[in-house]
């Protein structure tokens, strides 16, 4: 599925939840459990995303020109949020990630659900994922050039 198709899928999942704020938050917490197990030794300072109120660790790896993300957090809501981002952006080419317009966040009204502090954190997570993509793109281009 394309980035857009997955985003649309997420939007329709949230539509089913309706306006009930509590159920929506429970749902976000629940889906965080789908995150791939995060290696404990990677829970270190240098992998922490700056700008998040709660702790978020993010690492990325490249295989066959695609980027694989792994992440973890010390809060369940944040785990749910990062899971959504990973679901949309994982195992894609760097340029796809860099160019991705993550409109699902606005479409599901995430800002209103999670509040301003966490919205800033979410923006920091996206930025960090795109920075990883940019770094890998530069690296891939350089090795192709060789």
């Amino acid at each position: 599925m394309s980035i857009q198709e997955i985003q649309d899928e997420i939007v329709s999942e949230f539509e089913i939840l309706g306006d009930d704020r509590e159920s929506t938050i429970f749902y976000i917490m629940e889906i965080g459990n789908n995150l791939e197990a995060f290696p404990e030794e990677e829970q270190k300072e240098e992998n922490i995303i700056k700008g998040c109120q709660s702790k978020v660790w993010l690492i990325a790896d490249e295989k066959d020109g695609k980027i694989h993300f792994q992440a973890d957090s010390n809060t369940d809501i944040t785990k749910g949020l990062i899971y959504l981002l990973i679901r949309v952006l994982n195992d894609r080419k760097p340029e796809e990630i860099i160019q991705a317009d993550l409109d699902f966040i606005q479409k599901i009204g995430m800002g209103g659900i999670i509040g301003s502090q966490r919205s800033n954190g979410l923006a920091a997570m996206i930025k960090q994922m795109k920075l990883y993509a940019l770094a890998f793109q530069t690296k891939l281009n350089a090795s192709n050039g060789n």
Binding site: D19, F26, T75
Partner: protein, 407 residues
């Protein structure tokens, strides 16, 4: 005024609203209390009728504004039973009050090798100004430990006291735990070694009767916005002889007697410490907040809040996974807790979905959180306008949330 919860709630316009489609339950009172309509009306009235710069104005409006401003000073004097209103200095809050003492009293009277004693449960605003001073002067900061229930280790405090102790700066009631400290004893013991005492009254002033003459504290700091008054306003009380011995804090208008380019002489207290145009409107409106408290009486307010705290403990102790933080025998109405397996931030956000406003995190007391080996807590703090039914809804919400991780 008789204690009628509906009548009291009627005085606070902000309470009557829905949040996320649910009636607002405001349990973030230790951060800031809501304001009675009389305070809001006084603000409006000042700007509509009396707005003018105070002191030295040769016209009717300036006279009126000055009179109202000084009326509040007198009301604050009465509120804490200071000897005279000149001992009441308006600041922008507890933080500024403490910094004022650090930067004036501290810089003049605390030197190399001198000791300042604080406690483990201090707010950052009663830690950092002293660290800054110690760094500058080569003085030493000593910290009173606490017991596991959040009570001060008084025995250890006595051991820390010595002729080197120049100042004890201690919180009257803890913002993160609710613990009420035995301040009268502390002040007596500190005075016995010749130390001055600053009392951080930010949390206690809305709940406990404070009589600075009876307590004999040298300084008291408090914030208007935590006692139903406007934001951006605080009070520093100091004993006359201490305030007079201190150099000024900020230089500027109002705080001078005479200025020449060669030398400036300073005004008398309290004006010596109120440089520039003060927060006139908020000072004037603050009187209404104090009058509101007086109309009920603090013992009546405290009794109601105690009832809410006891009830919340009763209901929540039944919740599987509920971990109270701070269980001192003597507390103001602060309920700090964690849920086993959950981050306080998540709990707070889920309570918010139910219209329940609580605070989560370290509550500006990181060393205290470290003492308990936790990152933070969920803090529900109760005020005069909260109800038992609101406590029941809190307990119901917490129970539902706790179930996620504590089946």
């Amino acid at each position: 005024m008789k204690f009628d919860i509906n009548e009291i709630r009627g005085l606070f316009p902000v309470l009557h609203q829905e949040v996320h489609g649910k009636p607002l339950i405001y349990f973030d009172n230790a951060a800031t209390t809501q304001k009675p309509k009389a305070v809001l009306d006084a603000l409006m009235k000042y700007y509509e009728h009396d707005n003018s710069n105070i002191h030295r104005g040769a016209h009717a409006l300036a006279d009126r504004a000055t009179q109202y401003y000084e009326n509040t000073r007198e009301t604050v004097r009465e509120f804490i039973n200071a000897k005279e209103s000149a001992e009441i200095i308006f600041t922008k809050g507890t933080t500024e009050s403490i910094n004022l003492v650090a930067q004036t009293f501290g810089r003049k009277f605390i030197g190399q090798g001198d000791e300042i004693i604080i406690s483990t449960m201090e707010h950052h605003s009663n830690i950092v100004p002293w660290q800054m001073l110690c760094e500058e002067k080569g003085a030493v900061l000593k910290v009173i430990p606490i017991h596991d229930n959040g009570e001060l280790d008084y025995g250890e405090f006595e051991k820390l006291l010595s002729p080197k102790t120049k100042l004890v700066s201690i919180v009257h009631a803890s913002n993160a735990l609710g613990t009420i400290n035995p301040v009268k004893r502390i002040i007596e013991a500190a005075h016995a070694v010749g130390a001055k005492v600053l009392l951080d009254g930010a949390q206690s002033s809305s709940h406990l009767e404070i009589d600075v003459q009876d307590l004999d504290c040298d300084f008291l700091a408090l914030s208007a916005h935590k006692i139903y008054g406007p934001t951006g306003l605080g009070v520093l009380y100091g004993k006359r002889e201490v305030l007079e011995a201190m150099p000024p804090f900020l230089g500027g208008g109002e705080m001078i007697k005479e200025v020449t380019f060669e030398k400036t002489t300073y005004n008398d207290i309290p004006f010596k410490f109120e440089a520039g145009t003060p927060n006139i409107a908020d000072v004037i409106a603050f009187k209404e907040a104090l009058d509101f408290i007086k109309s009920l009486g603090k013992p009546v307010i405290k009794a109601h809040e105690d009832e809410l705290l006891t009830y919340s403990n009763e209901l929540l102790k039944e919740v599987k996974g509920f971990i109270p933080v701070g269980t001192a025998a003597d507390k103001v109405s602060v309920l700090s807790f964690n849920i086993n397996g959950m981050h306080p931030f998540d709990v707070g956000q889920m309570l918010d979905a139910r219209g329940i406003a609580v605070r989560t995190g370290h509550h500006c007391t990181q060393p205290l959180m470290k003492r308990f080996g936790i990152e933070g807590t969920v803090r529900a703090s109760f005020s005069v306008y909260n109800t038992k039914s609101e406590i029941e809804q809190l307990a119901e919400g917490v129970a539902r949330i706790a179930k996620i991780k504590n089946k």
